[in-house]
């Protein structure tokens, strides 16, 4: 009786620990509900899966290995899962999209490296390993993105940029509500995100805090890029030059006088000492020559 009880308790504890560990692992991702329910506007078929495979090979394979071959990189912690396994396939498309987008610990973020379309294609490839999967398409119509107009309004008093998103439908102007919106400043190698990712309010705008110390070009101009992602209208990008940065015109790094710089930019003391030394030596030589000439003259007499 006692032994069976013991066995029961061990089994119960074992099951609980397994469940708990599983729970804690999946909780780690912490995916918001509205992201989890997101669906792809790209149909998952052979064509998109093939395009996704090429992206997967380039960006994901080195850690996750080939799906179904269980050859992921085991030295990493946590070990990257084989993506054909249930752990991945049981997640929603929105979950996978969120995971690829944000990354966590050793998994890098692909927010900027891959476009939204590319990320969905990778998921199309992953889903091709799940025979029982049935896709739910989102109602996004990418062709409607042309109708959207984005207006920027900078308020110098509180250093805020208000971004309006409106769609000029045939039936009239529609405000984009609850659209995800990101603001960037263009830099030489990429886009610097300003503030956080926001969503438009019921009046179709979002307010971004703009930093007061962001350098612009010589006159303070900054190229601002706005990315709007709406459930219905899809992705919209808007670019505009605003004069809201700190005017930056720093001197070249080889402009100052320094011992390592070229002859013309050498320190004054070096130029003075060097030239006077040369002069001195020349004068001494001339003096000696002159004395020799005088001696010869005396000798000739």
């Amino acid at each position: 009786m006692i032994s069976t009880n013991k066995i029961y308790t061990t089994i119960v504890i074992a099951v609980f620990t397994v469940l708990l560990s599983f729970q804690s692992y999946s909780q780690n991702w912490d995916i918001p509900a509205n992201k989890s329910s997101k669906n792809s506007y790209i149909p998952f078929n052979n064509e998109t899966a093939k395009a996704g495979e090429a992206i997967y090979t380039k960006n994901c394979q080195s850690c996750h290995g080939n799906p179904g071959k269980a050859n992921s990189l085991k030295t990493l912690k946590p070990v990257p899962p084989d993506l054909s396994e249930k752990q991945t396939q049981s997640r929603t498309d929105g979950d996978l999209f969120y995971i690829i987008t944000t990354g966590r610990v050793v998994m890098p973020s692909f927010k900027i490296v891959l476009s939204e379309e590319e990320r969905w294609k990778v998921i199309a490839f992953i889903r091709s390993y799940n025979k029982s999967y049935v896709q739910v398409l989102s109602k996004t119509d990418p062709s409607k993105s042309k109708l959207v107009k984005i207006v920027l309004d900078f308020n110098a008093k509180n250093n805020k940029i208000r971004v309006y998103a409106k769609a000029n439908e045939a039936s009239g102007v529609v405000l984009l509500k609850d659209a995800e919106i990101m603001l960037f400043a263009n830099r030489y190698f990429g886009k610097l995100q300003i503030d956080k990712t926001l969503t438009t309010n019921s009046e179709g705008y979002a307010d971004f805090n703009f930093p007061k110390d962001l350098p612009g070009d010589k006159t303070g101009n900054i190229d601002i890029v706005v990315n709007v992602n709406d459930e219905l209208y899809g992705e919209i990008e808007h670019q505009e030059k605003l004069n809201i940065g700190i005017p930056t015109d720093k001197p070249a790094l080889n402009e100052q006088r320094a011992i390592w710089n070229t002859l013309l930019k050498a320190p004054i003391w070096i130029i003075v000492t060097y030239t006077s030394l040369i002069l001195l030596v020349t004068l001494v030589l001339l003096y000696i020559l002159n004395t020799l000439r005088k001696l010869k003259k005396i000798g000739d007499k």
Partner: protein, 318 residues
């Protein structure tokens, strides 16, 4: 009435003469145009066709008269490359940030660098070192490129102005001027420079290439070589070879004037000041006053373990 009847008659004579004139001049013009056209075609047949190599590497044959000169193919011109290499990219101050907590000694940076600059396996523009400061502190991996100092000791000792500092902060070597005295190697406190003791790798393949000071290819026996911050890539708006090759997000690269650095792996752009402030950024050997342009973030909370096999090498530093 009579006037009305007369006027059309008079007009018709004038009109007739006018018409004759127009037709005459017109036919002469048309004739000469056709004549010119035929002549043009004849000329064409005489063999005024030239072969043109497009940017896509397609060999085309076109009529010489149809070709418009848009410029010389710049990368083949040594004088141009030398001038461009000395001038740098105006308005920039390149800066690199190396996050030691992310490095797991994958050595992809070194491979990419050696491939780009045609280096031998033992020659390093960038090297991943195994470091340990003291017995009780943990070992870590430390990638070490040239520090591109703002007060470069190597440039100060060069007797022939072969190594120089550019307006955008990069320290380069001009192998057309280098005499191989190796003063700079002795002066560099970071051991960032290598010498071509033997005939460089791929020398046969590079024989016909024009020397590009921003890539230091072709390498030359008896000259010094070192990290160039991939000056040729920066010109195209691309991150350096090592930075984009890293699979672990170790490197950030950017422009100090823009206060922004971009991660080579995630391509995420962050503010330089904030990154250094939040992660306690530091520079190597600040006591020397060399003012490096490479910053390090300490190996705090390492994502990857230090391999046991590398421990003896790290302990050599203690």
């Amino acid at each position: 009435m009579s006037e009305k009847e007369e006027s059309p008659k008079k007009k018709s004579r004038r009109e007739f003469l006018q018409d004759v004139g127009i037709v005459g001049v017109g036919s002469i013009l048309a004739g000469s145009a056709i004549f010119a056209g035929i002549n043009y075609d004849k000329k064409k047949k005489l063999g005024d066709r030239i072969k043109v190599l497009t940017a896509e590497n397609e060999l085309l044959e076109i009529d010489k008269n149809d070709a418009t000169k848009v410029g010389k193919f710049k990368s083949q011109d040594l004088t141009f490359l030398q001038k461009q290499g000395r001038e740098g990219i105006p308005g920039k101050r390149w800066v690199m940030v190396i996050d030691l907590s992310k490095c797991r000694n994958a050595r992809k940076c070194m491979n990419a660098c050696q491939g780009a600059h045609h280096l031998r396996p033992e020659q390093h523009h960038i090297n991943v070192l195994k470091m340990q400061e003291s017995k009780n502190t943990p070992p870590y991996y430390m990638p070490k490129p040239c520090q591109h100092c703002d007060n470069p000791p190597c440039v100060a000792v060069c007797p022939v102005d072969a190594t120089f500092k550019r307006p955008d902060g990069i320290v380069l070597i001009d192998n057309e001027r280098c005499i191989g005295c190796r003063f700079c190697i002795a002066a560099c406190p970071y051991s960032a420079r290598v010498f071509n003791w033997t005939e460089p790798l791929l020398n046969e393949d590079d024989k016909d290439k024009t020397y590009n000071v921003e890539l230091n290819v072709p390498q030359r026996k008896g000259t010094v070589s070192k990290c160039l911050f991939s000056a040729d890539r920066l010109r195209d708006g691309k991150l350096p070879y090592c930075v984009s090759a890293c699979p672990n997000g170790v490197y950030y690269f950017g422009d100090e004037n823009e206060d922004a650095v971009t991660n080579g792996t995630t391509k995420e752009t962050v503010r330089l000041k904030k990154l250094l402030e939040e992660n306690a950024g530091y520079r190597l050997m600040p006591e020397l006053g060399t003012q490096p342009r490479v910053y390090y973030l300490p190996a705090k909370g390492k994502s990857y373990p230090f391999q046991d096999a590398d421990k003896p090498e790290a302990e050599e530093h203690i």
